[in-house]
């Protein structure tokens, strides 16, 4: 078969890239080889547009045992224990087929964790949709949300990993391009770590798990293109997940690893058999010989091209010591799974694929896996489709504004979503969904892991660099309010088409902002995922980096988010903060009350933010806080309302020169609300750390009052907040 420009175009390879393939092979590729290159060199697998900038991210600290480049990052958590964690997106499949798209997103990230030898103990998800009341797309957005939630629930619940938290946001820019980012975390001991490396000449390459079918072919390439009208035809590109099979695979893999016969293992995710074999070979500097006739197949008559590119789920490739294969097979037999030798490790560095007695592909592993083209794509200044100055506005009903914000889609309770997730299985969940950070204890130690996911597309659209910094700060603050110390991060970069210079500029600035902030907060990024081409019919999503931060704490119940008793002092650690007219334009008030977006994100002083976090953490760890909650979306008034949802409110006074809308609803960072019986000790800590602390007032039963501006009974506010999402879905 001759390779025509049409064939290249359908494989999304450029003529230059094709030239590079010919140079590597020293000849024209055949069709199978072209397919193999096309998936490995897709944006999704090769990060070819982002890699030059990803290098700017901090990746080291004394705790980092494994940085980017493996299936997941690994951090030392002391006592001989370690955590593996990573976030990954499944945006494109979730638009085409929400249930399976989201479900296999969970499945993929779980395999990334246990392929390293770690047992997954927590999942979180960051999901974004178009507005549920969108005039044109509302009905579809509801279907997508329900499908995605149900897919995550189906997969995680059956697998038996708790989904302990996450975040949900709505913007019209996600109408044709929902975001599904799934974070997973697992634990193991240092000596239980496995890598995806095909070492040892003559060792056996073993295929385990589900059979290979025709599903998901070119999934990685699909995730590297914009959506057009034709995308609706791409449903067969979406894989189908089987969480039961994955659960068996987990138990069998962890048990097989304990035999000592396994030298390397990698899951078959994006680009399936191709990616797992060439990456394992490349990392070890070896070659791999594969015989496709031995691959367990679900369908008859599959071509080498189809088998190499299939993204059938719940499959792993492992390398076992020659002569010890039977030990591995025995474990898989016990769990009722296929395990067959499909090849061996060779010394020539070549991925050599056999089919019906003939060699059908012959490609050097290293060039295929690591020498994908690198693009330093041109970038200008970030795309900014909004006014820079504020519109005129004046509120006539501030209590009414608060009520409106509490039912706004980004702020209202998401219990409709997370009650569909089993968040208590494994009995480690110390703090579950709906709180600032989730906490999972490690039973074998006195340590718990706290984690938080955050993203803010609005801030990042206004200023990708500052928005990314604010995101890092917020994530770390979420950990501080439960008393945890952040130690590492993973990022998911969701952007539009990088071939557009103003979109590329968003990506570059967000990465640089994130790099600066992660250095400042000492949270190295040990891996993550880049999802580009999130555009539909030329409309890009808001630039949406999502960060997952993990931290450590001594196992203990954290303070509650809500006030617990009347008569307690309420202190705002960090002070009232301030804003400008322009800096108010990215707030939830601007969005939900005014229906506008303008200006800049709030200003962040990272030095001050860090001191505020230290103060909050010290107050919490010393047991001084009966409740603690950070100020974020919706500003101080919304944060105080959230603290009041348990029925105990506060009578607060604000001494400020700001106009009331700004004072109540500005989203300036570096603020944490605590209630305490020991205000003097809280103030002492703040003073020592040179952090402003404002005594807001005293808690009281049943009402929330803020100066002369807001006065409301709590039960109706709480009921409206609790039922808003379900109401919107039912409308």
């Amino acid at each position: 078969m001759t390779i025509t420009p049409d064939i290249l175009a359908t494989h999304r390879l450029t003529p230059d890239e094709y030239g590079q393939i010919v140079r590597i092979l020293g000849r024209e590729p055949n069709y199978t080889e072209l397919g193999i290159f096309s998936v490995m060199w897709s944006e999704h697998c090769s990060y070819k547009s982002s890699r030059v900038h990803l290098r700017k991210l901090p990746t080291h600290s004394p705790r980092v045992l494994q940085g980017p480049g493996e299936n997941a990052g690994i951090l030392d958590i002391g006592g001989g224990w370690a955590i593996a964690y990573k976030i990954e997106s499944h945006n494109h499949p979730s638009f085409i087929e929400p249930f399976q798209g989201a479900a296999t997103g969970v499945g993929g990230i779980l395999r990334d964790i246990f392929t390293m030898g770690a047992r997954p103990i927590a999942v979180m998800d960051a999901i974004r949709f178009g507005p549920l009341d969108d005039a044109e797309c509302g009905a579809r957005n509801k279907r997508i949300l329900a499908g995605v939630v149900s897919g995550i629930s189906h997969y995680g619940n059956c697998f038996g990993v708790p989904t302990v938290g996450g975040e949900t946001a709505f913007e019209p820019s996600y109408n044709g391009n929902p975001l599904v980012n799934v974070f997973a975390l697992g634990i193991f001991r240092h000596d239980e770590v496995f890598y995806g490396r095909a070492t040892g000449l003559g060792n056996s390459v073993i295929y385990v798990g589900a059979k290979t079918g025709r599903d998901g072919i070119h999934g990685a390439s699909m995730a590297s293109a914009e959506f057009t009208e034709e995308s609706k035809q791409k449903r067969p590109n979406v894989q189908v997940g089987d969480p039961f099979m994955e659960k068996l695979l987990l138990e069998a893999c962890l048990e097989a690893m304990r035999t000592g016969a396994i030298v390397g293992i990698q899951d078959m995710g994006a680009a399936g058999l191709t990616c797992s074999s060439c990456e394992m070979g490349s990392r070890a500097g070896t070659g791999i010989s594969l015989n496709l006739d031995l691959v367990p197949q679900r369908e008859r008559g599959m071509t080498p091209y189809e088998m190499m590119l299939s993204e059938s789920q719940e499959r792993m490739l492992l390398v076992a010591d020659k002569g010890r294969e039977e030990e591995v097979y025995a474990v898989f037999r016990k769990w009722g799974l296929d395990a067959v030798q499909v090849g061996e490790v060779t010394g020539d560095g070549i991925l050599r694929v056999w089919h019906k007695g003939a060699v059908v592909a012959e490609i050097p592993n290293r060039e295929l896996a690591d020498e994908a083209p690198l693009y330093n794509r041109p970038y200008t200044t970030p795309y900014k489709p909004f006014p820079t100055t504020a519109p005129e506005f004046r509120s006539t009903d501030l209590t009414g504004d608060l009520a409106r914000l509490m039912t706004a889609s980004d702020i209202c309770s998401k219990h409709w979503i997370w009650e569909q997730y089993d968040y208590t299985v494994r009995t480690n969940t110390v703090a579950g969904p709906g709180l600032d950070a989730a906490i999972v204890r490690i039973k074998e130690t006195d340590t718990s892991v706290a984690m938080s996911l955050d993203g803010n597309g609005r801030y990042c659209l206004l200023d990708p660099r500052e928005g990314a910094k604010l995101m890092v700060a917020e994530c770390c603050r979420n950990l501080a309010v439960v008393g945890a110390q952040p130690i590492g991060a993973t990022n998911n970069l969701n952007f539009g088409n990088p071939e557009r210079p103003e979109i590329m500029a968003q990506l570059v600035e967000a990465i640089e902002g994130m790099a600066e902030a992660c250095r400042h907060f000492e949270t190295p990024i040990t891996g993550g995922n880049v999802s580009l081409y999130n555009e539909t019919l030329g409309e890009a999503i808001f630039p949406t980096p999502v960060l997952g931060i993990v931290g450590l704490m001594k196992t203990a119940a954290p303070p509650s988010l809500t006030f617990r008793e009347a008569g307690r002092e309420v202190i705002l650690i960090g002070g009232l903060g301030t804003t400008t007219e322009a800096g108010f334009g990215g707030t939830q008030y601007a969005k939900a009350v005014l229906g506008k977006l303008w200006g800049t994100p709030p200003a962040l002083d990272m030095e001050y933010e860090k001191r505020v976090q230290e103060a909050a953490r010290e107050v919490v760890v010393s047991g001084l806080a009966e409740s603690a909650h950070d100020v974020s979306k919706g500003g101080l008034a919304v944060a105080l309302a959230e603290c009041s949802l348990g029925g105990v409110g506060v009578d607060a006074r604000l001494e400020t020169d700001l106009r009331p809308e700004h004072a109540l609803f500005h989203e300036g960072p570096s603020r944490v609300i605590v209630s305490t019986t020991e205000p003097g000790n809280v103030l002492n800590i703040c003073e020592r750390l040179r952090v402003e602390a404002v005594r807001l007032g005293v808690t009281m039963d049943g009402r929330l009052r803020i100066g002369a501006w807001i006065d409301t009974a709590i039960p109706p506010l709480r009921d409206a907040w609790r039922d808003a999402l379900e109401k919107q879905l039912a409308d």
């Binding site: 659960k247 208590t424 009995t427 969940t429």
Partner: protein
């Protein structure tokens, strides 16, 4: 007392149950693989939650054919204690050890949240250590937990005092707010809520311990 925790392919609360009775209750516990045909020296069997055999066909429908189920049946027939939790309850119902059926939740969605139960009888080896009217807080986490039985069966369960627990605020549409039931011999309990997830304050509640403690007390009483 020796607890045996059954492990089916797809069980995912097996370790939680083991941890609850061994670490938090302080008794012996071991695992029983689904292909075993005897419960060995186990005094009480726990059929844990999860998705046995992927819950293909119907929750618990395949598990009832496993070798260990025969062993559990014999254990129960000879008066041994059996507690089925969540998927375990579904399996006991499918295998006929308990009457009725567990249907899709009334809301048609999986539901995970803390609920409150009250013991509906103290006359059982699973509730003997509880107090009348005591509210027990523990999580539910299931998609198919709506207890259903025909009128006659329901009337029998009630008249024979075989409803073990009722929900205070019914999360799934179960008839008569039933959260757990006993067999005729009162030595087999099935319940949808998860007592093993409520066995220490850090989990948000330790109320589930009372159920396992009741079993220990009953076993010690019977042995005396």
């Amino acid at each position: 007392m020796r607890f045996g925790v059954v492990v089916f392919p797809g069980s995912n609360c097996d370790h939680d149950a083991w941890y609850a009775v061994s670490r938090n209750l302080g008794h012996q516990a071991s695992f029983l693989w689904h292909q075993e045909s005897s419960v060995g020296n186990t005094d009480a069997v726990i059929v844990p939650g999860g998705f046995s055999y992927g819950d293909y066909l119907r929750c618990g429908a395949i598990a009832k054919f496993s070798p260990i189920l025969g062993a559990i049946r014999r254990h129960a027939e000879s008066g041994g204690l059996v507690i089925g939790i969540c998927n375990g309850f579904q399996i006991l119902v499918e295998s006929g050890l308990l009457p009725g059926a567990l249907l899709r939740n009334r809301g048609l969605r999986f539901v995970c949240k803390p609920v409150e139960l009250v013991p509906a009888t103290l006359n059982s080896p699973f509730t003997g250590a509880l107090r009348a009217g005591e509210r027990l807080k523990m999580p539910v986490a299931h998609g198919e937990g709506c207890y259903y039985a025909d009128d006659e069966t329901l009337a029998r369960l009630e008249s024979e005092d075989r409803v073990a627990f009722r929900y205070v605020d019914n999360p799934n549409g179960s008839l008569n707010d039933i959260a757990g039931i006993l067999n005729e011999g009162r030595n087999v309990l099935g319940m949808m809520p998860h007592p093993e997830r409520a066995t220490e304050p850090l989990m948000g509640s330790a109320a589930g311990l009372g159920i396992f403690q009741s079993m220990v007390d009953a076993f010690a009483g019977a042995a005396r």
